[in-house]
């Protein structure tokens, strides 16, 4: 009500900060570069209403109502939900604000040789939800789970990135309809170095050594309980409008879970530029099964899209399917990447 009647009458003078910016001569710094240009009601006006006062009053009313319901919704979420859901809803709330990916990246499993460039950052928030079903000797096991990973890359020099990944995982295991286990928490944090050591005629090669640290609780199946090491060899070949990425890697899977310690990974990905800002991505790959009792190794196939909303801001979505029983049946992936 207040907004409806008073807002058009408000002083049109610049506010405190704007005034300071004008008089001290740094106002032009703001206008030249605006990150978010898609606000529906920029500067408190509705674009298609000509009368300035009506426009301001209505946009104020819309905003006021929107705020009321958003605050009400968040208040309800805070009040009722268990801790995991609260953290999730908070992440979901922050997700649209801050996330990212460069060349290929999420939803692809296969990495590319791209680096950020000296002094540049990339922040990614990648999420996945998975579902699996297995039936053995009359026992039906259903697993649902997911992960939200925050990944920060920083270009130390043009060709070397340092990459920090913090995964938050949760899962639920049901046997014949009864909940067997249900856990959530931070899993093992990873630290990697990516060095693109050669590039020529569309070909580029990179090495990526890395380690994970036992920040998760392995007793809850979150992480391995020990420091693990890995090294990946990455190849990228670009032929406009296509790009291919090939990974071969070895992971020293030190663990307290009686799993295999030597894990091999091999995967291939392709990217096709459909239109200017939209890329179709596909991926196929295989890894040695960490489970000692099995000699069959999980393999996957994946398809998805990456869309660049801005030059430095991507969103992506993908679906991953298991090619055999050892891989999770269905995984939906979504993420955002922001480079700055």
């Amino acid at each position: 009500m207040l907004a409806l009647f008073l807002s058009p009458l408000a002083s049109t003078s610049p506010d405190g900060l704007e005034k300071v910016a004008e008089t001290k001569g740094f106002a032009e710094k703001g206008g030249s570069w605006k990150f978010w240009k898609h606000a529906p009601l920029s500067d408190y006006t509705i674009p298609w209403i000509k009368n300035e006062k009506v426009s301001t009053a209505l946009s104020g009313l819309i905003g006021t109502l929107a705020i009321f319901f958003i605050a009400l919704g968040i208040g309800k979420l805070i009040k009722k939900s268990p801790p995991v859901k609260r953290i999730l809803s908070l992440l979901l709330f922050l997700l649209p604000l801050f996330s990212t990916s460069v060349f290929a990246a999420h939803p692809l499993i296969t990495d590319d040789t791209g680096t950020q460039g000296k002094g540049r950052f990339q922040l990614e928030v990648n999420s996945e939800v998975n579902y699996g079903k297995e039936s053995e000797a009359g026992v039906k096991t259903k697993t649902t789970g997911g992960e939200v990973a925050t990944i920060l890359s920083f270009g130390i020099i043009d060709k070397v990135d340092i990459v920090l990944g913090i995964p938050f995982q949760w899962f639920k295991e049901k046997e014949n309809g009864e909940i067997l286990s249900r856990e959530s928490g931070i899993s093992d944090i990873s630290l990697e170095l990516k060095w693109r050591f050669y590039e020529r005629d569309g070909w580029s090669f990179a090495l990526k050594p890395g380690a994970t640290f036992p920040t998760g609780n392995e007793k809850k199946d979150l992480g391995t309980g020990r420091v693990t090491y890995s090294i990946f060899f990455i190849t990228t070949k670009e032929i406009e409008p296509l790009a291919f990425h090939f990974n071969i890697g070895y992971m020293r899977n030190e663990n307290k879970l009686d799993e295999r310690k030597d894990i091999w990974h091999i995967s291939l990905a392709s990217e096709l530029k459909l239109i200017k800002d939209l890329r179709l991505v596909t991926n196929i790959g295989m890894e040695r099964n960490p489970d000692r009792t099995s000699n069959k190794h999980p393999a996957f196939i994946l398809g998805g899209f990456i869309y660049s909303i801005f030059e430095n801001f991507d969103i992506d979505i993908g679906i991953k399917g298991g090619l055999n029983k050892q891989e999770t049946d269905v995984t939906i992936l979504a993420g955002i990447a922001w480079r700055f």
């Binding site: 009500m1 207040l2 907004a3 008073l6 807002s7 408000a10 002083s11 049109t12 003078s13 610049p14 506010d15 405190g16 900060l17 005034k19 300071v20 910016a21 008089t23 001290k24 740094f26 710094k29 703001g30 206008g31 030249s32 570069w33 605006k34 990150f35 978010w36 240009k37 606000a39 529906p40 009601l41 920029s42 500067d43 408190y44 301001t56 946009s59 104020g60 905003g63 006021t64 109502l65 929107a66 705020i67 009321f68 319901f69 958003i70 605050a71 009400l72 968040i74 208040g75 309800k76 805070i78 009040k79 609260r86 953290i87 908070l90 922050l94 604000l97 801050f98 950052f121 700055f340």
Partner: protein, 221 residues
């Protein structure tokens, strides 16, 4: 006081974003402990009131205008952590929906107005309120002074961020920002005190930080 994109360096924005996100996460945890049926709709109403009130710019000296912030107002009603969340919601909607305040500067804006304004403002409020032995008069004095400080401190924090970012030298930014906002802060103090005293008269049960100390309740019942 809403900083747009491009005024601050990415380093400052990233640092304040991390601090703000952490504070919000902790705030959610804290709020969860003492949130009942009544607080949820009150949170909605408070947030929309603050949003509406922030649209109304009042003129201050020298062709400048200021607007209500509401950080201390919501802190006194719902507690400082709920207030931080309310301010965050308002800032996010203003930024995404109305292009008021930059998207990259969202962390800094939450830091200046939510953490410094709401948490810091409430700290000053409870300090003065306790020093004045929690009298009725003391409540309003604490309210007025802390409202004024919430604005001036928030503006000073913005000035320091501008200086670190190399946008404007500290001396110039700080004196200009704190100077203008010292006047805007008087407006903030008047609106906060008037609004809270109105609520105290009509629905004293809604003012959490007053009821908790039970002063008015004993007098009125």
């Amino acid at each position: 006081m809403h900083l747009p994109d491009g005024f601050l360096s990415h380093g400052i924005n990233a640092a304040t974003f991390v601090v703000s996100a952490g504070a919000c996460a902790y705030g959610v945890k804290r709020v969860n402990r003492n949130f009942g049926e009544r607080e949820v709709p009150l949170m909605g109403v408070t947030a929309s009131f603050i949003f509406a009130a922030q649209m109304i710019n009042f003129p201050v000296a020298g062709g400048t205008s200021g607007h209500f912030l509401g950080a201390v107002f919501s802190s006194v009603l719902l507690g400082p952590w709920a207030s931080l969340i309310i301010i965050t919601i308002v800032l996010v909607v203003q930024c995404l929906g109305f292009a008021d305040g930059g998207l990259t500067a969202i962390g800094s804006n939450i830091f200046n107005m939510g953490i410094i304004g709401a948490l810091g403002g409430y700290g000053i409020f409870s300090l003065i309120y306790t020093l004045l032995q929690k009298s009725r008069k003391g409540f309003f004095i604490a309210l007025a002074i802390s409202s004024w400080f919430s604005i001036v401190m928030g503006a000073s924090a913005a000035a320091i961020e501008l200086a670190i970012s190399g946008t404007s030298p500290l001396k110039i930014a700080l004196t200009a920002m704190a100077g203008i906002h010292a006047i805007i802060g008087v407006g903030e103090a008047i609106i906060t005190t008037a609004a809270i005293s109105l609520i105290l008269k009509t629905r004293p049960d809604l003012v959490a930080s007053y009821v908790k100390k039970g002063v008015l309740h004993e007098k009125t019942t």
